[in-house]
Symmetry: C2
Subunit: 358 residues, 2 copies
């Protein structure tokens, strides 16, 4: 009799849990009663339908899944630098929204870079890489800093490959990531794996919930800021799913920008129209990616909005307008998935692994 | 009728799962039939009963739990350095067993340190901190690198406190970690929180399973190495739960060590008996903490064992003996808990946060 009562009780607990789970699923869906507000419709036209809360990561049994996990290791791999102390994460720190929060980064021998380090979060979606767009995609971008004498300062791709190839664990990771490749540990494949990993670096913000129809995801002030952002011209350059990063623009359309030392794309194209032209920065997580602009000269969001307003739009925002735009920009902050903030346990060097350079 | 059958089926699945869970619990216990082997008994006398696979982490509702989580953030906090680029993790990288795998570390302005950076894993259990034991505990140790002009190069503790105090999130973390403290954001409390975090940095290895009675956890070669380690004198200095770190010893007992530039503890005590005396390194994870010795001069385990044998014990190990000791030392490798390898999302600087120093 007691056993039967116990079984019945356990079953009851089980049923209650089932019902509770189901309720949670139902209540966590965004409310989608009726057509979305006009502002949401307007925002969707400029920015799309928003990110998903979690991207599906391909399983480790697929080559892409292996490449992503290999790229994750390489992203944190200090042996990709001459001194064996600088990794991608040194300047694109995933603990601080994929940047180092410095005017310009410090590389090999503490040399300062020429421009502010942009975030890796959502970087894959951009139309081109670097402030001047000189790399077409992440695969091309990833090679730059490794060989740049002011950054990771590897003297030659051969040394990159020699370091990695010396470790049996890396040889296996590359074989699993590039099946059928007769020479899987190559500099091209290093860049490919890092790029595949970086495409996973996507955050989910209050603004995504808003785009998906959750009206309450933005405060009234942030909605007012979004309205200004759409109607005053900001979204002319900062548009698309990453709220920027989709096109180039002259820094100083209405009023010349004070810092004239950096001529932007002109240095590459030598086209007069490209003087002071830079990629319009992607604004996702902009609250955490200070200091701002290619020269990292501005430290607060309010000042950055004002600077843009004055130089690009003709100073048509009031003080409360600026504050509203800042409130909207803060709604673009998301969390870097914990899976990618978890540093891998890196393979130990082998006796013949080329040592750090002096 | 169909509903009843469905309920019965669901209940059956539930029971099967319950039974399966219980079986897993039972089978994961190490086999402890009969008294342990003599070698295990001898090893327990030298090294204790081994680490647990997972240390209980105090809940975030306790002050200690809060301090550990605050210390975890501070461990990854580059704003504890003048340039805002160097954190504890820069030289004690949790992706590489709590070291940087360099002869000596690179700090502010790429200045090289004077001695090899020891691991933070299991560091708390040591009798003293630093190679020369000049800090009594982790609380005292943690302050050193922050203010060292060659390392993190903060000019004064006041700047450390000013940076942290400027951020509302840090103010709250310190309040929760040090309830009742009228001035919770202090340099002492920074060190306290980092030390509380570092006490969590414990790894669980095959050797622990062996000490706990799992005979098969070590290969025959590793057991032979353990026997040599115990009987040839290695365990005279490298003993206790961390297999070292418990006492000081002269580098060059039998034969003087070649590198005489560093006089060890003598520089602190000015006692002639302390000339060339250093802390005997803790050997947990030693496979991954190369290069070896206070001067980081030796890169492979085999060479390190040979060097110790020649200088400390009188060259009584054969080539196969050295290989056996290396096999034993590899059994001390464990995994850094993923929870602590997960970088926190660090608070954003406030407008009045003191900026990186040039």
């Amino acid at each position: 009799m007691r056993t039967r009562r116990l079984i019945f009780f356990v079953f009851l607990v089980f049923l209650v849990l089932l019902v509770a789970c189901d309720r949670r699923k139902t209540t966590s869906r965004p409310s989608q009663a009726g057509p979305p507000a006009e502002l949401i419709v307007q925002a969707r036209a400029a920015f799309g339908l928003g990110e998903l809360p979690a991207r599906p990561v391909p399983g480790p049994d697929t080559p892409l899944g292996q490449r992503i996990r290999l790229g994750h290791r390489l992203f944190f791999e200090p042996r990709l630098s001459a001194s064996a102390t600088i990794s991608c994460n040194s300047c694109h720190n995933l603990a601080t929204a994929g940047v180092d929060n410095r005017t310009t980064s410090l590389g090999h021998n503490f040399q300062a870079g020429a421009r502010n380090a942009p975030t890796v979060l959502h970087a894959a979606v951009q139309t081109a890489q670097f402030w001047d767009g000189r790399a077409a995609d992440l695969e091309q971008q990833a090679k730059g800093p490794v060989l740049n004498p002011k950054e990771m300062a590897m003297p030659h791709p051969v040394l990159v490959v020699a370091r990695l190839k010396s470790m049996p664990e890396y040889r296996r990771f590359f074989q699993d990531s590039f099946p059928g490749d007769p020479d899987p540990v190559s500099f091209d494949n290093v860049a490919q794996a890092i790029a595949d990993f970086e495409r996973q670096l996507v955050t989910y913000s209050a603004f995504d919930r808003y785009l998906q129809g959750e009206e309450g995801a933005l405060s009234d002030q942030a909605k007012q800021g979004l309205r200004l952002f759409l109607n005053k011209g900001c979204a002319g350059c900062h548009n698309g799913p990453t709220v920027g990063g989709a096109r180039f623009a002259k820094m100083g359309v209405v009023r010349p920008y004070e810092n004239t030392t950096d001529e932007g794309r002109y240095a590459i194209t030598h086209n007069a129209a490209d003087r002071f032209v830079f990629k319009a920065a992607l604004l996702r997580n902009v609250e955490r990616t200070y200091p701002y602009f290619h020269d990292g000269s501005v430290w607060t969001l309010a000042e950055a909005v004002q600077t843009m307003d004055e130089h690009q739009l003709g100073a048509n925002l009031s003080r409360p307008d600026v504050e509203a735009v800042v409130a909207f920009l803060r709604s673009l902050t998301g969390e870097v998935p914990a899976e990618w903030r978890t540093m891998p346990e890196l393979p130990a060097s082998a006796p013949d692994t080329p040592r750090p350079l002096p």
